[in-house]
Structures are given as structure tokens and as C-alpha cells.
């Protein structure tokens, strides 16, 4: 069971870089943990700190900029490419993001995010650039039920796609595994056939 998600109205953290791979989101050396918790402090570790030192934050990295905050991460095209490590989704979630907005997501990251109650929202490149151009006080509203994302200051709105099954899961915090376990008899029948 993950946390149910419907409407998220929040400020956002913009990272206007394309092809952000999961090695950047969570470097391999942090994959040695054997639990799901605590990855948020290492989110974007090597972009966030100099010399791997939490006392030396890189001032120009958006996560270190006090003007940016909130539950929405906004990133450039092809977010989450590369390694299938779910640790990337855990890190995004653990840091406190509930929604990631981009013009394009890598498939596995998208699945992993949804499996952890984090909503990937795909918008047009044009809409993405509009968000990047906003001031840091701006807020966005993401409405999963209505499948819309709105720039609150201007009211500009666009809709996003999500398949119905995944939408129901996210709205209610259901997991795929609960569903699969519930059809175990059908799976056994299939195996016999």
C-alpha cells in the first residue's frame, strides 16, 4: 500500500537538464542498502555536494536553492533513463516529491515511480519550458482525478495521460502485487494449460 494521491498543489524544484539518468538520481555506491528507507538524503548526491560532503553544497544546484521547494520535481526530457534501480524512485519519494513533471520519461522509471505512489506527469516540451520560465514563488496544481496540471498564477492548464488501471491504483494507494495475489488461481490455471 502506498499513500493515496489525488490533488497536489505546491511549489516546485526545477532541474532543467535533459537525459537525467538514474545513476545521477542515486549513485551506485548508495545501492548497497538492503531496506527501502533513507535514500532521500542521497538524491542527486553528486550534483548536490562538492567532494561528497554535505557541508559543501553546490550553491547553483536547485535542491540547494532555498527559493525552490515543494512536492513537485520538474525535469528535462528523458528523465530517469538508464539503470532500472528502483532506488531512484525511492530517493525521489523519500526526499518528499509526490509528482515528477517532464516532457518525457524513461519507461522503467515511470513504472517504478507509480509502484511507489509517485506520479509521473508528461507534458509537452512547450508547457515544460513555460514551467521552467516561472519565478520561484510560483505554484503548480496537479489533479490526478481530472488528469490536469495547472500553472496557478496564470491558470494555464494542460492534461496528461495515464492508464485507468494505474490511475485507480494511485488514487487509492493500491499495489500491483495485491492485485496479482488476488488472481493466483487464474495464474495456476494458466500454468496448467
Amino acid at each position: 500500500m502506498s499513500k493515496p494521491l489525488n490533488i497536489v498543489k505546491s511549489r516546485f524544484v526545477p532541474i532543467a537538464i535533459e537525459n537525467i539518468d538514474t545513476d545521477q538520481i542515486i549513485p551506485a555506491r548508495f545501492l548497497k542498502a538492503t531496506t527501502r528507507e533513507g535514500f532521500g538524503k542521497n538524491l542527486f548526491r553528486d550534483w548536490r555536494y562538492n567532494n561528497d560532503n554535505e557541508l559543501e553544497p553546490k550553491a547553483d544546484f536547485p535542491l540547494n536553492n532555498p527559493n525552490f521547494s515543494g512536492e513537485i520535481l520538474v525535469a528535462g526530457k528523458n528523465f530517469g533513463c538508464g539503470s532500472s534501480r528502483e532506488h531512484a524512485a525511492w530517493a525521489v519519494d523519500d526526499y518528499g516529491f509526490r509528482v515528477v513533471v517532464s516532457s518525457f520519461f524513461a519507461d522503467i522509471f515511470k513504472n517504478n515511480a507509480q509502484n511507489n505512489g509517485v506520479l509521473p506527469v508528461t507534458v509537452s516540451e512547450e508547457f515544460l519550458q513555460k514551467i521552467f520560465a516561472l519565478g520561484n514563488e510560483a505554484t503548480l496544481t496537479v489533479n490526478l482525478e481530472a488528469q490536469t496540471i495547472t500553472i496557478d498564477a496564470t491558470g494555464e492548464q494542460t492534461s496528461f495521460d495515464i492508464n485507468n488501471y494505474k490511475k485507480t491504483c494511485l488514487l487509492n494507494g493500491y499495489d500491483d502485487i495485491d492485485y496479482l495475489l488476488s488472481i493466483k488461481n487464474e495464474i495456476k490455471e494458466f500454468e496448467k494449460a
Binding site: 538492503t34 531496506t35 527501502r36 532500472s84 528502483e86 519507461d107 485507468n164 502485487i177
Partner: protein, 464 residues
């Protein structure tokens, strides 16, 4: 009217959900130490067993040291993670090819070599390079840890059917050009996200002419252009490769299997969402210059100039070159390298080692480079020794280490120091992939071996 992908997919759909994904049955599930512990925790929390332990294959690869494997692992966290896998496999009754086992190795190397990987199967692993197994004409793709838990618990996954792309490569490759160059060339043309949302079938006379191991190299890197996976229709080459392997069907089962495998091909009138055609003659030895696998050029080309890059992409491009210490427009050939890594699930099979050995025989490595050769598995290592490849490599000054993922992702001690250039036969050149600050240049085993001898990026064709 069906593609190869359709035929395998349709046979594995348990049921379809209205307006949602399908329940896809998974034949084989590979697990390793990094992406499985939280999945086993999930099973424990729910108090449920593994659905069928016979369909799970486990090995330790990502964290393992590549020297002195008989000694305890030094790094505490790596040691714990590998031990967790041992404990979990024992608790749930899964057979483990762990450290010291003669079958241990990189998960995508051992599956095919043991004959676990067979045409027509669905296969998954908590690892994106699971696409490797598609070379046999199977649907194979990487999954996250929540999905690992689902497959352990139910042998099924919820999946939406991807779109389909066919890449046809016809013609004959130039001498010195390998399957690694084919895939680096393709990714450089369609970009690191060019196949996102697609499953890719590779076809054409140049693919047919490749060995199984060379085909695996291509399918392996499908994920680097965003594809869920890649596959190649099985043929005589495939059947001959599988025959007689440990887990291959035997006797009457074998004949039945072969008869079925022969039906596994895309029908002539089947439609793909996208078709791409490539001439094998256009491909030269490739090398990457940037920080995603789409940033590749022929060794004889210059790095793109700033002018040639789209305005919107310029910041990412310049950030990447800055990390690599390259100038836009610069020539790449002749550029110094510090490390050579020949290994990983892309290029650490016996044919790769043979090709490297036959090229370096009688040559000496440059004094300024360090060369690590990491075999993909215990079996590859044993075979290399049997053939005397280890002696040839040692004579050239190359170090033959023990099997594992090693410097492909630097989770063990095998890290490239910050700022150093490593020409690598692996599959990812992301920032920090081979160690914080490390600069990776992806290339074929031959191109990497050439650089080991000259100390600079070279055109291997001038040396053979």
C-alpha cells in the same frame, strides 16, 4: 500478420485488464544481490513463499571483488548485501550461483551460457540489461524491485504492450567493425531516448551473420536508446548455441522445442510502428565522447561543434563536454586514455576475450595505461585459461581479473579515479558511472584493445 514479439507476448498473457495492462506470465526470473533484498523483505512481511523456486536463477555479481574472490569481501556494505542474498536464497529455497560457485558470473552472461535462456521465453531481472537475453528470440526486460517482488510472489507482472520498432541492418561489416559498433552507431543516430516506449526487433543480413555472443551485445544495449528490450529471431545459429547446454531441453523435448522455435519469426506482412534501415557498410569503429550512450561518433570523426547542436539541447551538451574535459569540434582520435576496461555484460564473453587476445598477441600495452580484463563469468574465465588466453593477455601487460560487474558501475573496489579517461567495453558513460568524476569512453573490445596498445584513441583497422 504477427511480429515475433506478438507471438511470444500473446502466448504469455494470463488475462488483460480493461483499459489497463495485461497480466504477463514470466518463464524465467534472474536475481542478484542489489535489487532483490527489499523484494524478499516484502515477501516476509506478507508471509508468502516464492511462487516457484525452479523459475528463479540467482547469482552475485554487482558487488563482488575481482581479485582474491576466495577471501571474505573487504567492503562491509558489499559483504552484507552479498550475504543477504545467500540468506534469502537459503530461506526461500532458491539455488544460488554465489561467489566461488563454478557458474557464478554476471547474470546476463550466465543465463545464456547455462542454457537457461531459450527462444520464445519471457524473462525478467531487476536489471535493465536483461534485454541481452532477447538475442535468443525471447521477450526479456529489466524491472524494478517492486516488480521483482511481484514475480517472486506470482510469476507474473502487469505490463502494457509496448509499441514495436524494427531496425534492419543489411550488408557486410568492414573488417575491425564489430556488433558493439553497430549498436553504438544505432544509438548515436536515434539518441538515448529514441526507442523509449518500444520493443525493438533487429533484423537483416548483417544481424543474421553475427554469432550469438555478438547478437547479445546488440540486444544488451537496447535499453541505452530507451527501448524496453530488443530481440532477434532464432535461427540455426541460435539453435546450435543452445544445444547441449546444461539447462537446454534434451532428447524428445529438444526436438519439440526446436520445432517450436522455428516458428518464431515475424510474418512477412506484419506491421511495425517504426522501421529503420541501416547499411552495414556505413558503420565505422565507434567511440562515445559524452555522458550518455547516444553521444557517439566514429573514431575518425570530430566531436560535434556547438553550432551543430540545437539551442535547447546546448546546456546539456556543454555540461556533458565540460565533465568529459573535451572541446566542441575537437578530434577524438589520438586523445589520451588512462584506463582500459574490457568487461561487463555487454562484452565480457569468451569471444570478446578471444578477439582481444588474437589482436594483442605479441604486442605490449602502453606504459601509461592500466588495463583490466574482467571475464563475464567463472566459465568464461576457465575457458580463457584453457585456451591460453590468460597467458597472451599477461604477456601484453593486461591484468585478467575474476568475474563480476566490476568497473562497469564501480560498486566494488574497481573504480576509475576522478578526471581519468577510461575506454570501456561496458554500456554506460553516465557521469560518475565508473567512479566519482571518472570519464568513460564506450567502445568495442577491439577499439579498447587498440587504445591499450597505443595509449590513445585509435582506429583499430590501421593495426590489423
Amino acid at each position: 500478420m504477427s511480429t515475433l514479439f506478438d507471438k511470444i507476448w500473446n502466448k504469455h498473457v494470463v488475462k488483460s485488464i480493461e483499459g489497463g495492462p495485461s497480466v504477463l506470465y514470466i518463464d524465467k526470473h534472474f536475481i542478484h544481490e542489489v535489487t532483490s533484498p527489499q523484494a524478499f523483505d516484502g515477501l516476509r512481511k506478507r508471509g508468502i513463499p516464492v511462487h516457484n523456486v525452479k523459475q528463479v536463477v540467482a547469482t552475485a555479481d554487482h558487488n563482488v571483488p575481482t581479485i582474491d574472490q576466495h577471501l571474505p569481501i573487504k567492503e562491509a556494505l558489499s559483504k552484507m548485501q552479498v550475504q543477504k542474498l545467500v540468506d534469502n536464497c537459503a530461506e526461500f529455497g532458491i539455488e544460488l550461483y554465489g561467489l566461488g560457485h563454478p557458474y557464478q558470473g554476471i547474470v546476463h552472461v550466465i543465463g545464456p551460457e547455462l542454457g537457461v535462456t531459450q527462444p520464445g521465453m519471457t524473462m525478467v531481472c531487476g536489471d535493465s540489461h536483461t534485454s541481452t537475453h532477447g538475442a535468443f528470440g525471447s521477450i526479456a526486460f529489466g524491472i524494478g524491485t517492486s516488480e521483482v517482488e511481484m514475480v517472486l510472489a506470482t510469476q507474473c507482472l502487469l505490463q502494457s504492450k509496448p509499441k514495436q520498432m524494427r531496425i534492419t541492418i543489411d550488408g557486410e561489416l568492414h573488417k575491425g567493425v564489430t556488433s558493439k559498433d553497430i549498436i553504438l552507431y544505432i544509438i548515436s543516430k536515434i539518441s538515448a531516448s529514441g526507442a523509449t516506449g518500444y520493443f525493438v526487433e533487429y533484423a537483416g543480413s548483417a544481424i543474421r551473420a553475427l554469432s550469438m555472443e555478438a547478437r547479445m551485445t546488440i540486444c544488451n544495449m537496447s535499453i541505452e536508446m530507451g527501448a524496453r528490450g530488443g530481440l532477434i529471431a532464432p535461427d540455426e545459429t541460435t539453435i546450435n548455441y543452445v544445444k547441449g547446454r546444461k539447462f537446454a531441453p534434451q532428447g524428445a523435448d529438444w526436438d519439440k522445442a526446436v520445432a517450436y522455435w522455428k516458428t518464431l519469426r515475424t510474418d512477412d506482412d506484419a506491421k511495425f510502428d517504426v522501421e529503420i534501415n541501416i547499411k552495414a557498410e556505413d558503420i565505422e569503429p565507434m567511440v562515445t565522447y559524452g555522458t550518455n550512450p547516444g553521444m557517439g561518433i566514429s573514431v575518425n570523426e570530430n566531436i560535434p561543434s556547438e553550432k551543430s547542436i540545437d539551442d535547447k539541447e546546448k546546456p546539456s551538451f556543454l555540461k556533458s563536454l565540460q565533465y568529459m574535459g573535451f572541446e566542441p569540434g575537437e578530434k577524438i582520435k589520438g586523445h589520451k586514455v588512462d584506463y582500459v576496461f574490457i568487461g561487463s555484460c555487454t562484452n565480457a564473453r569468451i569471444e570478446d576475450l578471444r578477439a582481444v587476445a588474437s589482436f594483442v598477441k605479441g604486442k605490449k600495452k602502453s606504459d601509461d595505461v592500466e588495463v583490466w580484463i574482467v571475464p563475464g563469468s567463472k566459465q568464461v574465465e576457465a575457458q580463457a585459461k584453457e585456451e591460453g588466453i590468460d597467458k597472451i593477455l599477461e604477456a601484453a601487460g593486461f591484468q585478467l581479473r575474476q568475474p563480476g560487474c566490476s568497473a562497469c558501475l564501480g560498486m566494488n573496489e574497481d573504480k576509475i579515479p576522478a578526471g581519468k579517461y577510461c575506454i570501456s567495453t561496458s554500456n554506460r558513460n553516465f557521469e560518475g558511472r565508473q567512479g566519482a568524476g571518472a570519464r568513460t569512453l564506450l567502445a568495442s573490445p577491439l577499439t579498447a584493445a587498440a587504445a591499450a596498445i597505443t595509449g590513445v584513441i585509435s582506429d583499430v583497422r590501421e593495426m590489423i
